[in-house]
């Protein structure tokens, strides 16, 4: 039998209750508890079915364009004068970001479950575009909740989603960003639960989402681990990925979790700096971030003293979220992964550096990971290897960058 598309032998986590250590779980209204049971069972059946792996694998090869390559960033590495930097090119996946990996996986699952109405939330619009694309391909109806602030800053993606046949529903509640889009998607799900599949875009939310999204994204690391060894003859000294909800990071890290000589480094959005309190660095600012419960899962949450969720800030809409996937909280607690941050300014600088030196315009989200490589590489020996997940392409961010840098 061919190797299964998704490896299920890498970890026992989450446990039966959906916990990664003390993080995770299922904190949702009763109305959707049976739907989560149903989803968990359907996913368990799918993942045990070689046919499901084969279908997803086929789509990923013939539609998404997987495997995505890794590129050696020669000029960047030379300029940095230390570690050799390699980029995992998720920006080359169809739709221009890693989000399609999960959208196709959950889309196939929805189809298997006989659900024809798909809802999704989106921040930067990449998951919304991924979802709209996958649903166009699979012939399912797609409704995307998006905060009106994000709609304003991500116009091209809004148009893309509409072009792909999805309905984009503006969310006007709360801070009108990703957090509120998730609230509204959950309210929709509570209301239309029996006919609706909620296609959650990151490795967060109630069990089984953090596990399922990780599994669908784990192809990133599975491919990259082979590719980097083929190209360099070694495992990387460190893997670096940006962390909003954390799906591209967990997707990269997963295959490396037992390679304890490889450091795993997540990069959060430092926004205008920790002191400003205008950021989304859940692990860096423990004055306003601590374990709590948001959107169905227990993880680190940015909140005030009274447990009210705080508004976050990042130049990149995809990292602008007050909580983080529970498995990241667990990996951090185990000290298996380390989390740092890049500010808006550092990300913008990395955005330009990578464009000029490598001819690759990264998504502002991914630019946070590149920024960490720029800081770290010069401190490392020349025979060391950094593997950076370039989770998406930057075309969607041109308006944002133009508005800051000028034309």
């Amino acid at each position: 039998m061919a190797e299964l598309y998704i490896r299920t032998d890498l970890t026992d986590l989450p446990d039966e209750r959906g916990y990664f250590g003390e993080f995770g779980g299922r904190f949702v209204p009763e109305t959707i508890m049976p739907a989560l049971d149903e989803l968990e069972n359907a996913y368990a059946e799918a993942i045990a079915d070689p046919q499901f792996h084969a279908e997803l694998s086929h789509l990923q090869r013939t539609y998404t364009g997987r495997p995505t390559p890794i590129s050696y960033a020669r000029r960047l590495s030379e300029a940095l004068g230390g570690a050799q930097v390699y980029l995992k090119r998720e920006d080359l996946a169809h739709t221009g970001a890693h989000k399609i990996n999960n959208a196709l996986g959950q889309g196939l699952l929805a189809k298997r479950m006989g659900k024809r109405r798909i809802i999704a939330e989106t921040g930067a619009g990449q998951h919304g575009v991924g979802a709209a694309t996958a649903m166009a391909l699979l012939g399912l109806e797609c409704h995307v909740y998006m905060g009106s602030v994000d709609i304003r800053r991500q116009q091209p993606n809004v148009f893309r989603m509409k072009l792909l046949g999805a309905e984009v529903i503006p969310v006007e509640s709360g801070s009108r960003t990703l957090k509120d889009a998730i609230n509204e998607a959950m309210r929709d799900w509570v209301t239309n639960v029996e006919m609706t599949f909620y296609l959650l875009g990151s490795a967060l939310g109630p069990h089984p989402y953090p596990m399922m999204v990780r599994d669908f994204q784990s192809i990133i690391g599975t491919e990259a681990r082979e590719q980097i060894q083929a190209q360099t003859g070694q495992l990387p000294d460190a893997c670096i990925a940006c962390v909003g909800g954390g799906s591209n990071a967990i997707g990269l890290f997963h295959a490396f979790r037992d390679d304890t000589a490889t450091e795993l480094i997540g990069v959060e959005a430092g926004g205008r700096g920790i002191e400003s309190q205008e950021h989304a660095a859940r692990f860096a600012d423990l004055d306003i971030s601590r374990p709590g419960i948001l959107h169905g899962t227990r993880s680190f949450v940015m909140q005030n003293d009274d447990g009210q969720i705080m508004e976050t800030h990042s130049i990149s809409a995809g990292l602008d979220y007050p909580s983080v996937g529970p498995e990241h909280a667990h990996l951090r607690q185990l000290e298996r992964a380390w989390y740092t941050l890049a500010t808006d300014e550092e990300a913008l600088e990395a955005f330009q550096v990578l464009s000029k030196l490598e001819g690759i315009i990264p998504a502002l989200e991914s630019a946070h990971a590149v920024a960490e490589a720029i800081k770290r590489a010069p401190t490392m020996p020349r025979d060391s290897v950094l593997l950076v997940n370039l989770s998406g392409r930057g075309d969607k961010d041109l308006d944002t960058v133009i508005s800051i840098l000028g034309e």
């Binding site: 299922r26 109305t31 508890m33 509640s173 609230n183 509570v190 009210q308």
Partner: protein, 269 residues
């Protein structure tokens, strides 16, 4: 109302249901959030509802991200938060209401995160000390409730779980085994909010629940008018009115009192 005055927690709720049952009606438990339209007015509203003869209360603790609530309660609790309403202030409100002579059972109703931030043991202890009788947490299914369950047992507070039309027999048994005080029956698949009509399947749904649990059933979501109140009064042990009263309370204390009084009258006819 004197018969429940010296009881607290689950015992106070038992007495409340017994009295309603003796009068061949359901108990009427309004929901009202602290801090809406402002702190003083929320207390005045709750006091006015108490004087109008309601049987108990859900005292709403505002949260920034209320995923089970519709537009009315979202907007009201947002206003309450912007005015600085905290968990501590909600407990203080209960203490004040007790001091003003409100004797009906009061259950604190709020989402998990603010209570976790306060400290679950501390919250249950302080709720009891303030005079509250129970706790309802809409995003806390029985599976995750261990963090509150021991403290509630220790303090004698009711820990209420919800059941919905989507709940299967296994989940009905689970909620029945773990709930104390009563079971909050969500009338429909959806979020809170006033509705024109109650769902047609309500009788069958309640019958299905009765077959698997002997816990008191309190119906909520969508109950908005005296007609609705009369309709459910013969069906369940209690009912909750939220959005309709919150909307009225946003107009004036008197509007909320008048709506509540018309419902009290409807179930006593």
């Amino acid at each position: 109302m004197t018969d429940t005055q010296n009881l607290h927690g689950t015992a106070a709720l038992e007495a409340m249901f017994a009295r309603a049952r003796a009068q061949q009606r359901a108990a009427f438990l309004p929901y009202f959030p602290i801090g809406y339209p402002n702190y003083a007015a929320s207390l005045a509203t709750i006091k006015a509802l108490a004087d109008a003869g309601v049987d108990g209360f859900e005292i709403g603790i505002p949260f920034s991200d209320p995923i089970a609530d519709g537009p009315t309660i979202q907007a009201a609790t947002q206003i309450a938060l912007e005015a600085g309403t905290t968990v501590r202030l909600c407990l203080e409100a209960v203490r004040k209401l007790r001091a003003q002579g409100v004797s009906q059972p009061m259950l604190m109703m709020g989402y998990a995160n603010p209570l976790v931030a306060y400290g679950t043991d501390a919250f249950v202890r302080d709720a009891r000390a303030a005079g509250a009788d129970g706790l309802i947490v809409p995003d806390l299914p029985p599976e995750e409730a261990a963090m509150f369950a021991d403290a509630c047992t220790r303090e004698g507070l009711a820990l209420v779980f919800m059941l919905a039309p989507t709940s299967n027999d296994e989940r009905i048994r689970l909620a029945s085994a773990k709930a104390s005080g009563f079971i909050y029956v969500v009338s429909l698949t959806g979020i809170t909010g006033a509705r024109r009509e109650l769902p047609a399947y309500l009788k069958d749904f309640i019958a299905r629940l009765r077959a698997s649990t002997d816990k008191p059933l309190v119906l909520g979501f969508g109950i908005s008018t005296p007609e609705h109140a009369r309709e459910v009064s013969g069906l369940t042990d209690g009912f909750i009115v939220g959005s309709a009263l919150v909307r009225a309370g946003g107009e004036s204390v008197e509007s909320a009192r008048d709506l509540a009084a018309s419902m009290v009258a409807a179930i006593r006819e």
